[in-house]
Symmetry: C3
Amino acid sequence: MNKRINLLVFSGDYDKALAALILANGAKELNMDVTIFFAFWGLLILRDENKSALKRKSFFERMFSLFTPKGVENLTLSRMNMGGIGQKMLKKMMQDKNKPMLKDFLDGARKKGVKFYGCKLSQEVMGFSKEELIPEVEIIDVYEYLKDALESEIQLFI
Amino acid sequence: MNKRINLLVFSGDYDKALAALILANGAKELNMDVTIFFAFWGLLILRDENKSALKRKSFFERMFSLFTPKGVENLTLSRMNMGGIGQKMLKKMMQDKNKPMLKDFLDGARKKGVKFYGCKLSQEVMGFSKEELIPEVEIIDVYEYLKDALESEIQLFI
Amino acid sequence: MNKRINLLVFSGDYDKALAALILANGAKELNMDVTIFFAFWGLLILRDENKSALKRKSFFERMFSLFTPKGVENLTLSRMNMGGIGQKMLKKMMQDKNKPMLKDFLDGARKKGVKFYGCKLSQEVMGFSKEELIPEVEIIDVYEYLKDALESEIQLFI
């Protein structure tokens, strides 16, 4: 049976999302099973750039949706973001070294069959409908996360 | 024997504390043994709202005590806190969906028998006396944390 | 065989570096094998204070090198840093209680034989040459990190 890694991605920062998805891609290339449980700010990583459902949202949900980044390449850095300058600088440094962008690592993970879970409670509180997220996402609760984590060799909270 | 989860809660952010305590409650409901080791900012989660011991503190300890939040519902968000507006907005969104607050999850964890440990070094440095923390807390050192973590199926640093 | 702990240190914050190195020292004292994989901002912890190689850097690499802290005692706090005041206050509180500083825990880990790994991708993107880092560091990729983590009893993402 394949070894398993289970990532709980709580953060919605560009750099931490990058770390999570580099780990996910790397683990898949080593023939490991990979599940990522996106909770809280982590759900921002799963937003589908081309979809939104502002009409059906409450006032706070609409505010939240408008004031948080849409599309992974617009996520901010966990530090030195400096109003976006730091993030652009990092991306430029990655391009200079011919490294893939966050979007590429996300697409790679989707293609390689990484299992994407979204946290039910977070999704309800933030008011993101399933249609606003990338189609691979399955919404599960904390019990299902824990059961999956128990069957994994590596568990990380990112 | 029950499966075990061990959480090292380093953060004192409202949202991360919420994540930790939702995991703790969920694991208990799955009949798992749960221990949380609160270190550094995480100790702020354990402050008893109704107690303080300012008189016996040094100048820096008193400053630290006064400038950090007291009572879990006053913790700040890890991002989008915006001077407290973001935190209030999140709490409003949770209430709109009839979700429990952080205080409820903390109380739930206490009632369900989650084991609360406080980090000795952090407690000494920050100058929090045991009486300022909720009564369930037992103060341990890093060796005891590591031994507990070694006996657990899941370990997370939050 | 010794029990193993594997830390992925993503953060370059003073307080989180402190947590990681206290865990590393404690685990070594319990006769555990300890590996730390420093990725992203974590590489800042490994910068050798006495060396730099600004001349051979690109414009962005030079900027990055100049605007990030050099030497562990200059790292900033993950919260309440307040332009360095919070960090100085924390260090004063640690000294008042006769606790070792971050530099001491780093030196302790080096002497005790903690295995230091640096992330290849991060090192290339940030433009840190191997000579700018402390000599114990070995540069590895994500696959080698994952293999090491799979053989460890405890894995944490800090």
